[in-house]
Symmetry: C2
Subunit: 316 residues, 2 copies
């Protein structure tokens, strides 16, 4: 009989649930608004074992139903940006990132909230993904395993961006632990009931897990398949206008996390030609045809998959 490796971790008294970090990703916007209503009702009645902070991250962008007003808020949480010199002419999101860092951080400090769950949508057919900067944070990995067990009808993946804490740029990096909960496909500026309900379930089960963990429940080890981002691929573009000259190939569209092999169709040009994947290694595509990444020069991202064996985890 195999015996789990054991890890004892401090409890998680403060959790932040953030939505509207991108103002046109509407599941998180409406879920956070709904949670704020309910919070107001129950705050006097219930004794919460967890302090849940509910945050609408970018109220101005949300008001305009745009991803951002001046610059992408979810790229502003590097140490350099948070701690750079301040000026009256700072873009709105730079100012807002510092407000959020004061509220939920400071990033990297003992005062930071214990867990940040930041809610996102994608136009890609990615199901539910937890996106983190670590492949060995067993709080995030156990929450992922719990969601997998509790929500078996939604495809679920764990994505790892291998970026240092200093260079990490997204809101969830402000917490001691943190992840983005990314759900799609949903057009930006649209709310679909099925996606909203999936996110609501994801957040509820995440909070349930934190309460169970805090109250002393042990979580057995096991494996998680981790998709580590390897590289991005841009669209083919016109060398003069920089306009894209092809769309994702119909054989690849909506096939997020289906292994892409060398010579598989990648793009279809607007004149009808097929362009193929020229990489040497089969990799897993994700964020295929994400709306917001056209301007970032990303048509899709590619990941390597590996199985991470887990620890038994309990509160110390």
């Amino acid at each position: 009989m195999e015996v789990d490796e054991v890890m004892c971790l401090p409890r998680l008294p403060r959790v932040a649930v953030c939505g509207g970090t991108h103002g046109n990703e509407l599941s998180g916007v409406y879920l956070v608004r709904e949670m704020l209503k309910v919070e107001k009702k129950v705050v006097e009645e219930e004794e919460e074992p967890v302090l849940v902070m509910i945050v609408l991250s970018n109220p101005r962008a949300t008001q305009q139903c745009h991803r951002y007003v001046d610059t992408d808020l979810n790229r502003c949480f590097t140490h350099a940006t948070l701690n750079g010199p301040m000026s009256d002419t700072d873009p709105y999101e730079i100012v807002r990132s510092r407000e959020l860092n004061t509220l939920l951080g400071p990033k990297g400090s003992r005062q930071a909230v214990d867990l940040v769950c930041d809610l996102h949508n994608t136009t890609a057919n990615m199901g539910m993904c937890l996106i983190t900067y670590s492949d060995c944070d067993w709080i995030c990995l156990h929450i992922f395993r719990h969601l997998q067990k509790e929500i078996p009808d939604i495809p679920m993946r764990f994505i790892h961006f291998d970026v240092s804490n200093k260079e990490s740029y997204s809101l969830d990096s402000v917490g001691k632990h943190g992840f983005a909960m990314e759900i799609g496909p949903q057009p930006h500026g649209v709310v679909r009931s099925n996606i909203y309900t999936a996110m609501k379930g994801g957040v509820q089960h995440m909070l349930d897990w934190v309460r169970l963990f805090n109250s002393g429940t042990m979580f057995k080890g096991g494996f998680v398949d981790v998709f580590t981002m390897v590289k991005h691929i841009d669209y083919p573009r016109d060398s003069v206008t920089h306009n894209i000259t092809a769309a994702i190939h119909p054989h690849l569209q909506d096939r997020d996390f289906c292994l892409l092999h060398p010579e598989d169709p990648l793009f279809q040009t607007f004149s009808g030609e097929t362009l193929r994947y020229k990489g040497k290694e089969p990799l897993y595509p994700f964020f295929i045809n994400e709306c917001a990444y056209y301007e970032k020069g990303i048509a899709l991202s590619l990941a390597r998959k590996r199985r991470v064996m887990g620890f038994l985890v309990f509160k110390g």
Copy 2:
């Protein structure tokens, strides 16, 4: 044996294909750019029986990948707006609508182009729709029948907005004949190969029909199912904030053109409650959860269907 009623119509020497009337509806943007490239190549080689004008309607909005810059261009083509007093402070789209009216119209005049095909996308699951202001324009109805026959694998509907020529507000109303070609589902700001290819096929077959018609081909009568818009339904909203409090019900989402009966589920509130359709008459829903219509107060539109019997049509 039934004999067709016969209608003799003038030929169509000038056709306009317009894309980017809404700058974030990308199939039309990229199709028009592609057609402009090809046009440059073939203009010296081919003797065209039809003058095809290819127009990027809203270049500024297209540049920003927004629906519009100041106001919705596709609501600016009423007689009142086109012929109102001009001023230096006019919104960009008002100025642009007058430029387009000069280029393709003037609306209602003998100089107007013979046919305007204006390319649009929707986030609704509508397949391909031709949208017009007439249920008896047998140029548009025969083009629709031709597309139905030539593109059998895409669901296709003919939508009629019963609005007078004076009040008609969209770019296609500038031509002697005109329709919007609306294809979905596709998120705004995204181009999907399958939707792009469908639109490309739709435009090619439309132009083929015009060439056949101009060269004397007779088109036999037959029927068309016409969906006439009856009313719009808005989302439930908070009386103070005006924010929506519900999304389209999952049973209704993506069921465009499936008959909606009294008491069928219509919305699901963000707290999980089902709201039902309270109309007395079964009607056909369309534009279900169209992104751009949140701000217009339209969650879906409802139509009555009736079968229009057609005329044999030929060029006089």
